[in-house]
C-alpha cells in the first residue's frame, strides 16, 4: 500500500493517461473509512471513496444520505471524525478549504458562488490570484488567465461583461473556468444540471468530456443523475450515510439508481387515467410570457391530479408561479370555477382558492424561526379575525388539527419549524394550504429534500387530495413521483407544452426520453 502511495505522489502526466486504464494505485483521491458525527447523528459511516484522474463519478443519494457531508469533508469545509483522506497520495490531516484548493480539489456549488458585480475575467481569475498569494491585482494578468482557460474548454464569453448580465449556463461555465484556473485536478459539481436547459446540458457534457481528456476528474453530486450518466465511468450511491452501491456506470440506469437511492424495489402504482368528474375546475388559455413560456392552454377537472414536468429552463417553474400570480404573464387567461383570476396577483389567486407550495421550502415556503403552529396558522388569519382581533383558541385548535391529520411528528407545536425534518417541514407547508380549503393546489417539487418514508406519505396525501375533489398540479422532475401520483402528465419543453400522457400509459424510461429529446 505505501509503495503504491509513493508512486502516486509522483507528478502525474494526466494528458497521456487514458481514464479507463488507471490502476488502483494511481488514485488521485483516496478516502478510507471516513465517518462523520454531528451532535449524535452519524452523517457518514465508514465510507471508502476513490477518484482517479480523468474519471467522472456520479455520487448519488437522496437528501440526508451523506453525499453533501462527503463533499464537505473532501473540500475541507468539514473535518472527518474518523478515517483517512489522501489527495495525490499525501495523507491530509486537518484539511482546510485552502489546502484542498491547493491540492487541486475544487467545488462548484449549486449557486456557483460567483460575484455578480465583477467581470467575467475577474471571476475566473480571482481564486487563482488569491492562491498565488498576489498582493497586486493586474487586470491584464487576470484577463490572460481567463482567456487561457476559456480557450482550454473552447468557449467564448466576453471577458469584460459583468457576471450578473450573463445567462445561467454561462455563469456555470465561468464557475468551471474558475476551478480550472486554479489548476483543478478534481472538480466537484453540486447539482450541475438543475438550472440548465436540455441544450445547455449537452454543451456542458461536451466540456466535461474535454476536461476528462485533459486528466481532470469530475464528481457529479446529484439526486437526479440520468443526464450525466452518459459521461460517467463510475457510480457511487450513498444512503443513510453508508455506501450502498458502487459500480460501472453502464450497470446503472435511471430506475436502478432510484432503487438504490431509495432502497425500495417496487415503484408505487399509477393511479391510472382520470375517470372524470365532469366539473371543470381550471382552464388556462393562451398564457404567455416572453422568455419563460408561450401559448399554454390546458384545463383540468375537480379531483384530477395533473403533473407538469420538463427540464429546468423548460418554463415549468415560471408557469407554476404564474398560476399563483407570482409571475405576471403578458397575455392569456386563468379561469378557476368559471371565474377569471387576475394575472400576477398572488393575493387574488389566494382568494380564488388557489394554493402554492413552493419548491424551496427553506427560503420561500417556511418561516424557519417561527413556531410550527404559526407556520400553519398564518394561512388562516383572515378567517379567524373579528374586527382585526384573532380568535386564538379557534386558530390554534384548527392548526393543531391539521398538523395531526397530516401526521406531523413533533414534541411541541410551539417549537420553531426549523427543528423539524425535511418531510415534516413539507407536511407543515402542506397543512397551511390545506387548512385554507383550496380548490386548486399547486405543488412545486413536493418531495424535494424529503426522506424516503415521508415521500411515500406525501404521495398518499397527494392522491388523497384528489379523492377529496381538489384539483392538484404537481410540478416535478422526479418522474417516478409523477407516475405514482398523476392522472395526466404534461411535458414542457422550451416554454411550450409538447406532450401529454394519461396516467399508466407511459413508462419512466419513455417519459425521460421524451424529456431529453
Amino acid at each position: 500500500m505505501s509503495a503504491a502511495v509513493h508512486a502516486a505522489a509522483l507528478p502525474l502526466s494526466p494528458r497521456t493517461r487514458p481514464a479507463m486504464q488507471v490502476s488502483e494505485s494511481s488514485a488521485f483521491v483516496e478516502m478510507t473509512g471516513v465517518t462523520k458525527h454531528y451532535a449524535g447523528v452519524t452523517a457518514l459511516d465508514g465510507v471508502d471513496f476513490t477518484v482517479h484522474p480523468g474519471e467522472a463519478i456520479c455520487l448519488a443519494g437522496e437528501n440526508g444520505s451523506g453525499k453533501s457531508t462527503l463533499i464537505k469533508i473532501l473540500s475541507g469545509v468539514e473535518q472527518a471524525s474518523e478515517g483517512e483522506i489522501r489527495i495525490g497520495g499525501e495523507v491530509m490531516t486537518g484539511l482546510s478549504p485552502r489546502d484542498a484548493t491547493a491540492a487541486g480539489v475544487l467545488v462548484i456549488f449549486q449557486d456557483f458562488s460567483l460575484f455578480p458585480n465583477l467581470s467575467v475575467a475577474e471571476n475566473i481569475a480571482f481564486a487563482n490570484e488569491l492562491t498565488e498569494g498576489r498582493m497586486i491585482f493586474s487586470r491584464r494578468h487576470a484577463r490572460a488567465v481567463a482567456r487561457r482557460v476559456l480557450d482550454r474548454i473552447g468557449v467564448d464569453i466576453p471577458l469584460n461583461a459583468r457576471l450578473e448580465a450573463l445567462p445561467v449556463a454561462h455563469k456555470q461555465l465561468v464557475a468551471i473556468c474558475r476551478a480550472l484556473a486554479c489548476e483543478a485536478r478534481l472538480i466537484i459539481m453540486d447539482e450541475p444540471t438543475t438550472a440548465l436547459t436540455g441544450k445547455e446540458v449537452a454543451a456542458l457534457l461536451d466540456i466535461i468530456r474535454l476536461l476528462k481528456e485533459q486528466g481532470v476528474a469530475v464528481i457529479f453530486v446529484s439526486h437526479k443523475l440520468a443526464e450525466v450518466l452518459a459521461v460517467s465511468e463510475r457510480v457511487v450511491v450513498l444512503r443513510n450515510g453508508k455506501k450502498v452501491a458502487e459500480g460501472d456506470a453502464t450497470e446503472f440506469d435511471a430506475a436502478s439508481l432510484t432503487r438504490h437511492m431509495t432502497g425500495r424495489d417496487v415503484a408505487e402504482a399509477s393511479p391510472g387515467a382520470f375517470a372524470g368528474s365532469g366539473e371543470t375546475l381550471l382552464a388556462v388559455e393562451n398564457l404567455q410570457k416572453d422568455g419563460s413560456f408561450r401559448d399554454i392552454s390546458f384545463s383540468m377537472q375537480t379531483g384530477e391530479v395533473l403533473g407538469i414536468t420538463g427540464l429546468l429552463g423548460s418554463g415549468r417553474t415560471s408557469l407554476a408561479k404564474a398560476l399563483f400570480g407570482l409571475v405576471t404573464p403578458e397575455s392569456g387567461r386563468i379561469v378557476v370555477d368559471g371565474a377569471e383570476v387576475p394575472l400576477g396577483d398572488p393575493i387574488a389567486s389566494a382568494e380564488a382558492r388557489i394554493g402554492y407550495v413552493p419548491e424551496d421550502r427553506l427560503t420561500e415556503g417556511l418561516f424557519l424561526t417561527q413556531s410550527i403552529l404559526r407556520n400553519v396558522a398564518v394561512g388562516r388569519l383572515a378567517e379567524h379575525e373579528r374586527n382585526g382581533f384573532l380568535h386564538m383558541r379557534g386558530l390554534v385548535d384548527e392548526a393543531s388539527d391539521w398538523l395531526k391529520r397530516l401526521n406531523v411528528k413533533t414534541p411541541a407545536i410551539t417549537a420553531p419549524v426549523q427543528s423539524l425534518s425535511g418531510g415534516n417541514q413539507q407536511r407543515v407547508a402542506l397543512a397551511r394550504w390545506m387548512s385554507r380549503a383550496p380548490r386548486l393546489l399547486i405543488l412545486n417539487g413536493p418531495s424535494v429534500g424529503v426522506d424516503v418514508g415521508s415521500k411515500a406519505d406525501i404521495h398518499d396525501i397527494i392522491r388523497d387530495l384528489g379523492h377529496q375533489g381538489l384539483g392538484v398540479i404537481v410540478i416535478s422532475d422526479d418522474l417516478p413521483e409523477l407516475l405514482a401520483t398523476c392522472h395526466r402528465i404534461l411535458v414542457m419543453k422550451g416554454g411550450a407544452i409538447t406532450d401529454e400522457f394519461a396516467g399508466g400509459t407511459i413508462t419512466e424510461d419513455a417519459l425521460s426520453q421524451k424529456l431529453a429529446s
Binding site: 420561500e364 418561516f367 417561527q370 413556531s371 403552529l373 404559526r374 398564518v378 382585526g388 386564538m392
Partner: protein, 347 residues
C-alpha cells in the same frame, strides 16, 4: 401564537424578557442602595415617569419597524415636524392668552394635525420601502432629513413658542397622581402589544420580518403590511413629538437629536431582533425601565450629558455583543444574516 401556546411550553426563564426583568430589578436595586433617600424619593420617581415617555414612545415606533426587519431612522424628524406644525397652529391661530373651551378645541385641532402629519410621513416612508423597494435604512435616513428640513424651512431654525397654558397638560400634568406622558406611553405600549400579539396584522408583521419571501408566497399582502407599519411608526412618533413639545413648551426642528440612538438602543436592549421576526413590547418596556433607572442614577451622580451619550453608545454595543455572540464558538463565523437568495435566476 406565542400568546397562547408557546409561553407555557417554553420555560419562562429562557425568555430574553426574563433576563431583562432581572436586569431592570438589579439596576433599580443598585440605584436604590447607592442613594436610597434620593433615588427612592417620590419626587425622583415622579420625575422619572415624566422623563422617559418621550423617547420610550419613539422606541415603540422603532420596535414595530424593526420587527419587519426594517428600521425607522426618521422618527425624530417626524416628531419634530409634527410638533412644529402643531405649534404653528397653536401660536399663529390661537396664541398664549387663549383659555377654556376654545383653547381645548384648538389643542384638539393641533393634535389631530400632528397625528395626520405623522401618518402622512409614515405613509411616505412606507411607499418608499414597499412600492419603490428602497432599503429602509436609506429611505428613512433621507426622509428624516426631508422632514427635519421642512421643520427648519417652516421655522427658519428657531423655536416656536407661546402656547395656551392647556398645552402643558400633555407633558406636565398628572391624572390621579399619574403623569400624563406615562399614561400616554402605557396606552401606546398596551395597544402595540395587543396589535402585535392579538391581531392578524401583528402576526403578519412578525411573519413578514421572519421571512419576507415566504410571506409573499403565503399570500400575505406584504406591501400593505409595510405601509401600515410605517404609518403606525409615524403616528407614534408624532405622539412623542407632542409630549416633547408640551414639556419643552416650544417646538424646534432639532429637539431630541439624541433620541434616535436611545430609541434604537431600547429596542435592541428589549430583545427586538434588528433582522426582523422577533419583537415583544414587554421586553421594550423592561428595557425602558432599566434605562430610566440607570439614567436617573447617572443624574444623581451628576454625570454630564456627554458622558451619558458615551454610556448609551457603549451599552448598545455591549447588548448587541451579548445578544448575538455565540460565546462557545467565537472562532466560528459571525452570525450575519444570509443575503436574500442570490440564485433568483432559475427561469
Amino acid at each position: 401564537m406565542s400568546g397562547s401556546g408557546s409561553r407555557t411550553e417554553q420555560s419562562l426563564t429562557q425568555a430574553p424578557e426574563f433576563r431583562l426583568a432581572i436586569i431592570a430589578v438589579l439596576v433599580f436595586a443598585l440605584m436604590a442602595v447607592m442613594s436610597p433617600d434620593r433615588f427612592l424619593s417620590g419626587q425622583n420617581l415622579t420625575s422619572m415617569a415624566f422623563q422617559f415617555p418621550e423617547f420610550a414612545i419613539l422606541a415603540l415606533a422603532m420596535t414595530i419597524t424593526m420587527t419587519t426587519g426594517g428600521i425607522d431612522l426618521s422618527v425624530v424628524g417626524v416628531a419634530n415636524l409634527s410638533a412644529v406644525i402643531a405649534a404653528t397652529i397653536l401660536t399663529s391661530l390661537v396664541g398664549p392668552e387663549a383659555a377654556g373651551a376654545a383653547a381645548f378645541m384648538w389643542l384638539a385641532v393641533a393634535l389631530v394635525a400632528s397625528l395626520a402629519v405623522g401618518a402622512a410621513a409614515g405613509f411616505f416612508n412606507g411607499i418608499l420601502v414597499s412600492r419603490l423597494g428602497l432599503p429602509p435604512i436609506l429611505a428613512t435616513l433621507g426622509s428624516g432629513l426631508v422632514f427635519t428640513g421642512f421643520a427648519v424651512a417652516m421655522t427658519g431654525g428657531s423655536a416656536v413658542m407661546g402656547f395656551p397654558d392647556i398645552v402643558a397638560v400633555i407633558g406636565n400634568a398628572t391624572i390621579w397622581e399619574i403623569p400624563v406622558p406615562l399614561i400616554l406611553f402605557a396606552i401606546l405600549a398596551i395597544a402595540l402589544h395587543i396589535l402585535l400579539t392579538r391581531t392578524g396584522f401583528g402576526l403578519r408583521v412578525t411573519m413578514y420580518g421572519a421571512n419576507p419571501l415566504a410571506a409573499l408566497y403565503a399570500g400575505i399582502d406584504i406591501d400593505r403590511i409595510l405601509l401600515r407599519v410605517y404609518v403606525i411608526a409615524g403616528m407614534f412618533s408624532s405622539v412623542a413629538g407632542m409630549v416633547i413639545m408640551s414639556r419643552a413648551n416650544s417646538a424646534k426642528a432639532d429637539y431630541g437629536s439624541s433620541y434616535l440612538l436611545l430609541a434604537v438602543l431600547i429596542a435592541v436592549l428589549g430583545g427586538v431582533n434588528p433582522y426582523g421576526g422577533y419583537g415583544r413590547v414587554v421586553g421594550v418596556v423592561l428595557a425602558v425601565l432599566s434605562m430610566q433607572f440607570l439614567s436617573s442614577g447617572l443624574n444623581m451622580l451628576q454625570v454630564s450629558n456627554f458622558a451619558r451619550e458615551l454610556i448609551w453608545g457603549a451599552l448598545l454595543l455591549l447588548v448587541m455583543v451579548i445578544n448575538t455572540t455565540n460565546w462557545a464558538g467565537l472562532s466560528a463565523r459571525p452570525t450575519s444574516r444570509p443575503r436574500p437568495a442570490e440564485r433568483e435566476d432559475t427561469t
